[in-house]
């Protein structure tokens, strides 16, 4: 019976078996490259298939963590090897295992040198991502959380564009600075509670003043990852310089680590501080939504435009989380999953034309719809999903966040909603400039329509975006119970500390 298997361990470390295979490949460069691509694709595809077992066996009625695994790691220290998922982490694991094979497929032709090392980096990245979402021990979480940095740093720094080294170091320094503060907080929590077990820490109940400092420490790390204004400037550079697949994973999964951290750590463990700092988060997020939307409007580089739009969309997420309402948190979760799919697809859209014309300048394009009609359809669908058209997943997330924001404060909802208008403006304008109008050059005219491999990447993304847009309950039902648990512990935690004073 599959439920007796250590399924989370398998999903987490299966890509590492692929890495072992890749290390063993011998032969001339051509053969190594071909085999490396196939091994990486098959291993990540297989990992995805296995991760489907999580969906099939997940009990959305059950309270608490499922598929739990626990093993002694550092005996007597309160630190253990502890894995498990609930309705909040399970969708993210699926998102990671789903996007990984697509990202590998997306780099099939774009990456031509050091293919084996590239594929190793991606498989390691997958292990780190899945491990991070599956960890129920804070120390393990931290290891995976930081471990994600290493392969991504290498992917940007080695296979990136012209300013890749600058971008890679900026990315690394930003995230590391935040993480160091988080590590200090984690040490303080360990000493206070005597354990790094996440369920036990959630039940621990930290003192009010301590919560404030811990919240700020974690905020430093999560805010960089989300990214929140004003610590977002690594993102446009990292995206612009990263290879297409790197951008897909970066926007698709890595940006969600911050939001996940808020929901897993900040809300249930520091409920008082979360409530206290919610206005600060609102202010920063509203600035992010409006500021970065306007900046996106001014971009002449397609990838940078979509990168800035990601910051704006993640502003919605942080607003939703800190409304501390059921709709707000559910909307934030939904928005994260939706943005994971849509932004990955949009970055792939940019990659498709970049592979053909080797420029990301919007002004170099025009009339692409006439030469690449099928691509135009996919791009338009994803563009509309990004704008939040009803019937796509983007709508559900934004709608729920706005409902939650309205409950928290109608002003927050008002300012947040301006982001919708600006979002539609820059995305539609981008689409018009790139896809419509006259064909601007002979190079554009000679662009090849998308092939089977590219369609194979677009179709699953499109299907899911449509599915979640038309039938959002399929995702909301999975998350609802766990979100309620988080919100209950926010309410109860607040009451507990106040009573203890």
């Amino acid at each position: 019976m599959i439920s007796n298997w250590p399924i989370l361990t398998i999903i987490t470390f299966l890509p590492m078996i692929g890495v072992a295979f890749l290390l063993m490949i011998r032969g001339d460069e051509e053969v190594v490259a071909r085999n490396a691509r196939n091994v990486a694709l098959w291993v990540s595809g297989f990992t995805f298939v296995i991760s489907l077992a999580l969906v099939l066996n997940f009990d959305s009625q059950a309270i608490g963590y499922q598929f739990e695994e626990r093993a002694e790691w550092l005996p007597g220290s309160g630190i253990s090897y502890h894995l498990g998922v609930d309705g909040i982490s399970m969708p993210f694991i699926l998102l990671s295992t789903f996007l990984s094979p697509l990202a590998i497929l997306a780099s099939w032709k774009a990456i031509t040198h050091r293919v084996r090392e590239y594929m190793i980096a991606f498989l390691v990245l997958e292990t780190m991502m899945v491990g991070m979402f599956a960890s129920l021990d804070m120390l393990m979480f931290y290891l995976f959380f930081e471990g994600v940095l290493i392969p991504m740093f290498i992917i940007i720094g080695v296979w990136g564009g012209k300013r890749r080294v600058y971008a890679a170091f900026k990315f690394f320094l930003y995230t590391l600075l935040g993480s160091v503060l988080m590590l200090v907080c984690m040490l303080a929590m360990y000493i206070d509670a005597g354990t790094t077990d996440i369920p036990m820490l959630t039940a621990h109940g930290f003192a009010a003043t301590m919560q404030t400092w811990l919240f700020l420490g974690f905020l430093a790390s999560f805010a960089v990852k989300v990214p929140m204004w004003p610590v977002h400037t690594w993102l446009p550079d990292a995206h612009v310089e990263a290879p297409t697949a790197g951008s897909m994973i970066l926007a698709g999964v890595l940006l969600k680590m911050g939001g996940y951290g808020f929901i897993r750590f900040s809300l249930p463990m520091f409920p008082l501080a979360s409530e206290f700092f919610a206005p600060l988060i609102f202010a920063l997020s509203i600035v992010a939504v409006i500021y970065t939307s306007l900046v996106a409007l001014a971009q002449s580089d397609m990838k940078k435009l979509i990168a800035y739009s990601s910051v704006a969309h993640m502003g919605f997420v942080t607003i939703g989380i800190f409304t501390l309402t059921e709709q707000g948190v559910a909307g934030a979760m939904f928005q994260m999953i939706s943005h994971g799919l849509v932004s990955a697809a949009l970055f792939f859209c940019v990659g498709v034309v970049y592979d053909r014309l080797h420029t990301r300048e919007i002004s170099a394009y025009g009339g692409v719809a006439a030469v690449m009609p099928r691509y135009a359809v996919f791009f338009m669908f994803m563009m509309l999903a990004s704008v939040g058209l009803p019937g796509t997943s983007g709508f559900v997330g934004e709608m729920l966040v706005l409902v939650g924001a309205w409950k928290a404060s109608s002003w927050v909802a008002l300012f947040t909603a301006t982001g919708l208008v600006l979002g539609a403006t820059y995305m539609l304008w981008l689409y018009r400039r790139v896809m419509f109008g006259k064909i601007v050059s002979a190079e554009v005219e000679a662009m090849e329509p998308i092939g089977r491999r590219e369609v194979m990447i677009f179709v699953p993304l499109t299907v899911l975006v449509l599915w979640f847009g038309v039938y959002p309950a399929s995702l909301l039902d999975v998350m609802a119970g766990s979100i309620q648990v988080v919100l209950d512990s926010v309410a109860a935690g607040g009451a507990f500390v106040i009573a203890g004073r």
């Binding site: 930003y174 400037t233 690594w234 900046v295 409007l297 001014a298």
Partner: protein, 399 residues
């Protein structure tokens, strides 16, 4: 093909948008905008829209653009009808308009199709004998639009104008007179379109003219169906929408506050109010015939003589340019400012780039200390010893 799609989308979106505007005002009571101010605003916007779009429509040359601005103008009527609380009249016009405007759009599609995808009125003309069915359909649509007696628009548009008059408010009067002026222009641009498209000498190339043909059944049957609606929908719907069966027909779905009596009084307006729109429509037709069929030099001369006015109308009152200056350019400029001055200079300048620059400078300065000369190090050591000893004596000297 796109004409069909356009007509469908247009009618649907008009309907949805209108549903909203006809439901909201009665319940609108926010501090910012009291109900009374809100409906005055709607009336004024509606009246201005009616006249604005009509003036633009009479100067355009793209056949579909003329009809599109005509739609905009008719929406203005519906808006000011809602503004004077004549919601049933507005909904009535919405319904009849759906028939004759769809008929005009599809008819225009048939013309465009016949002329090998030509949309410019200046390149049309002289084809009415070759496509008589389309020609007849366009006549029916235009008669209904201009509100000639017993066609659909006659019932619904007159109802709106009478309601505006019967409101007996300053904004109601404004709407009435602007609406009458727009009715004159409606007839004018409709017959301008008919004459330019179908009459006179052919202005298309011989090549195109040799291909002119009546559209296939798949296009003409829908035209016929719509023409039935354009003729009869006003006569059939009158009693239900705005006449004796009104209360039964609408039930609870429309709320008119008791103090808003325009709908009630619309049935008891002076005779001249009922006649004026018809007279104006007829004179609009006459003027179009004179300008475009009899003395064909007049339009060009008038446009030249009144060139600022003509330019103003032809460029859609410069709304696009205005929005460009008010919204588009500032948004892009603010975006560029935030990006360059905010992200690059401030956040990056003081943040990562500034810090890494600082580290480089400090370490450069620190590395200069390592001179490699023994006496430098010995001297530094000596200073250190002196400082330590002094501190020791000052701190513990008293013991």
């Amino acid at each position: 093909m796109e004409a069909v799609f356009l007509a469908l989308v247009l009618m649907l979106s008009i309907f949805l948008g209108f549903e909203l505007i006809s439901k909201v005002p009665a319940t609108l009571h926010t501090p910012l905008m009291s109900g009374a101010n809100a409906i005055s605003g709607i009336t004024i916007v509606g009246a201005l829209t009616a006249i604005f779009a009509a003036t633009v429509g009479m100067t355009q040359f793209d056949i579909k653009r003329v009809i599109a601005y005509s739609t905009c103008s008719q929406l203005g009527y519906m808006f000011f009808a809602a503004g004077v609380s004549a919601y049933p009249a507005a909904m009535f016009h919405l319904t009849t308009h759906a028939f004759f405007k769809a008929l005009l759009f599809l008819g225009a599609g048939s013309v465009i199709h016949a002329l090998s995808d030509e949309q410019d009125l200046r390149n049309m003309g002289g084809i009415w004998k070759k496509i008589p069915f389309t020609y007849a359909m366009m006549w029916i649509g235009s008669l209904a639009l201009a509100g000639f007696p017993f066609f659909a628009g006659f019932y619904s548009k007159d109802m709106i104008l009478e309601a505006a008059f019967a409101a007996h408010t300053p904004v109601g009067n404004l709407a009435f007179w602007l609406g009458c002026a727009a009715a004159f222009l409606t007839a004018f641009y409709s017959w301008r379109l008919l004459i330019m498209a179908f009459h006179g000498k052919p202005r298309a190339s011989a090549e195109v003219m040799s291909h002119v043909h009546e559209s296939p059944l798949v296009m003409t049957i829908p035209l016929f169906v719509l023409s039935v609606g354009a003729i009869f929908s006003g006569w059939l719907g009158y009693e239900l929408f705005v006449g004796h069966d009104m209360a039964r027909f609408w039930g609870d779905s429309i709320l008119i506050l008791p103090e808003h009596t325009a709908m009630e009084n619309a049935h008891h307006v002076p005779k001249w109010v009922k006649l004026l729109p018809i007279v104006l429509a007829a004179s609009g037709v006459l003027l179009a015939v004179l300008c475009y069929a009899v003395w064909t030099g007049i339009p060009a001369k008038t446009a030249r003589a009144l060139s600022p006015v003509h330019a103003f109308f032809f460029n859609k009152w410069y709304f696009d340019e205005l929005y460009d200056i008010i919204f588009v350019r500032p948004a892009v400029r603010i975006g560029a400012f935030l990006w360059q001055r905010g992200d690059r200079d401030t956040i990056d300048g003081f943040g990562p780039d500034g810090l890494s620059g600082l580290v480089v400078r400090v370490s450069a300065a620190a590395s200069r200390l390592q001179s490699g000369f023994v006496f430098h190090y010995a001297f530094a050591m000596l200073i250190g010893v002196v400082v330590l000893v002094t501190w020791y004596y000052l701190r513990f000297g008293g013991m």
